[in-house]
Symmetry: C2
Subunit: 322 residues, 2 copies
């Protein structure tokens, strides 16, 4: 009912006040009950003016990624069918994995205002300050084998890049496998994890962190990170951007299930800033220099060494050489 | 201290009574404390005679897979370094995955007397009645990519088959990928699961259920299952068998980490009852008939169709045709 009251207040925002009596009649509850829901909305940050004998008027909506703010913007059928929002949690991947273990359906998302222990690939920290970005994870349950799940990492990068382009007009480049860079600095990182039997995936979690409103960065990453608002120089609506990205994840995911990896790979190549470049690939116990020549069929990076030998790599950290 | 008291009682089993006074002196605790530990041991099923002024005498050890019963039999360095024993749990894989998510180290095992929701591959039930079998899961944390984790499924089958052969003198055949059959009936099934980032495995769980003492089976599987005691016609010690299997898992795992999959594959082929046979492979939406010709490099089953075409399969259920 809280969400329905909010919807009515939003519809009447321009006209003026909605009377408590009208609301209580409409929902067939007492005016005290209406008032309790209004109080919860206020606690959530909604500015609502209440004047005796006039009623309630919505003045301002908080910049929060509440379910009731995202749901009306969604154009999806699956992705976002369940939205779990938190003010602060360790990480959205950690929480969604627990939900997934307990049977949450495909399309469930977890989003929060602040991650206390946000993480990137290879156990690295991801700084996720309160309200500054979109810290979100999406649960998928594809009927695929674990061998093919790495394709979803690349799918995630493509979907977020498309969402950012559609909503903010910024084209980011994908550094293999799935970092989004603009002007050489990171605007988004993705962390894909899975639970699987050895011949079937139980679920895949695509987590992404997008720097949207950050105006400064932690020392460790200050020269390597940038936010979308720093790039466009104006305000960006996190909830509209999130809705756009979820739509993009859904369309790419359905494409992947129907047509396989090829169309995703082609999209990835359009956003690519890795192929054709000289790169150094580092992974535990290994350091390879060469030219990144193409993606393999599973999304691996094929590197051609100075001797002219080609080899495909599934994992590792790329440094682009200029 | 409970385990140390038990050890002393076992050492003195033939000689006779150990006085409570002696025990309390040795552990520098009160006789009441000693008596409390004795009471716990009795509750666990140890038959201990206690006579005033004589002390305690161990009469019989229960047939339970307690840590204190398994530990003294272990010849391993890693596997079994932490043993969690339960009387009944949903499934050993479920519990060990929770422990793994909370940071339990490599080599941790979970073993129970009864699984309330034991499961096999593809979500099937695995009947796990109280005390009738070995229901156990082992936690591994190999530094490998998810693509290679399916090799550990085959490794698990090899290790259990070796353990059964060494301890019981029964040679079982491996039906691809990892069922152990004797006389065409299942004595053991394995279920391997993992948690992974898409380019690195966080952990792999090898779960196995061995029918040891079952004298009858649930209707659904009665013509397809058999127990080791039915096969040998005499009593089998579950704890000795488990210790032998854990040793075998460790030696095969170390071999795998040092030398790769080749030696495991060779062992698998020695226990094989699939290759060279006419088979039907069923998986969702697929049914393939042909001859199983060999294992692929990742442990896939290569099937040659009647037209002579070869294809490698990662997943599916094999029926052996006679």
């Amino acid at each position: 009912m809280k969400e329905s009251i909010l919807t009515i207040l939003k519809e009447h925002k321009k006209e003026g006040f909605v009377s408590g009596e009208e609301l209580s009649r409409q929902f067939q509850v007492s005016r005290t009950t209406i008032w309790k829901h209004i109080r919860v909305l206020k606690e959530e940050g909604y500015q609502i003016e209440s004047i005796p004998r006039c009623g309630y008027k919505l003045i301002a909506v908080p910049d929060m990624l509440y379910q009731q703010e995202i749901k009306p913007l969604l154009k999806t059928k699956i992705i976002g069918n369940k939205i779990h929002h938190y003010k602060e949690i360790t990480s959205t991947n950690d929480v969604i994995k627990q939900l997934a273990d307990n049977g949450s359906p495909e399309g469930t998302i977890v989003v929060c205002e602040e991650q206390l222990a946000g993480k990137g690939r290879l156990g690295r920290k991801w700084f996720s300050p309160n309200g500054a970005g979109i810290w979100c994870s999406v649960l998928l349950r594809p009927s695929i084998m674990p061998q093919h799940a790495s394709k979803l990492t690349l799918l995630g990068a493509v979907a977020v890049a498309q969402g950012i382009r559609n909503q903010c007009g910024i084209t980011s480049g994908i550094k293999w496998p799935n970092d989004l860079l603009v002007q050489g600095k990171k605007v988004c990182g993705l962390l894909t994890e899975m639970r699987a039997e050895l011949d079937s995936v139980e679920y895949v979690v695509i987590g992404f962190g997008i720097n949207v409103k950050n105006i400064e960065f932690h020392d460790e990453v200050s020269c390597k990170a940038i936010s979308l608002e720093q790039l466009v120089g104006s305000k960006i609506s996190r909830k509209k951007l999130l809705a756009e990205i979820l739509a993009s994840i859904e369309s790419n995911y359905l494409l992947f299930l129907e047509q396989g990896f090829t169309p995703i790979k082609e999209q990835w190549e359009q956003f690519n800033i890795t192929l054709g470049k000289k790169v150094v690939l580092s992974s535990p116990g290994q350091r390879v220099a060469g030219t990144a020549v193409r993606l393999g069929e599973e999304g691996q990076l094929v590197i051609k060494s100075v001797k002219g030998e080609e080899q495909a790599y599934y994992a590792g950290e790329i440094t682009l050489r200029t």
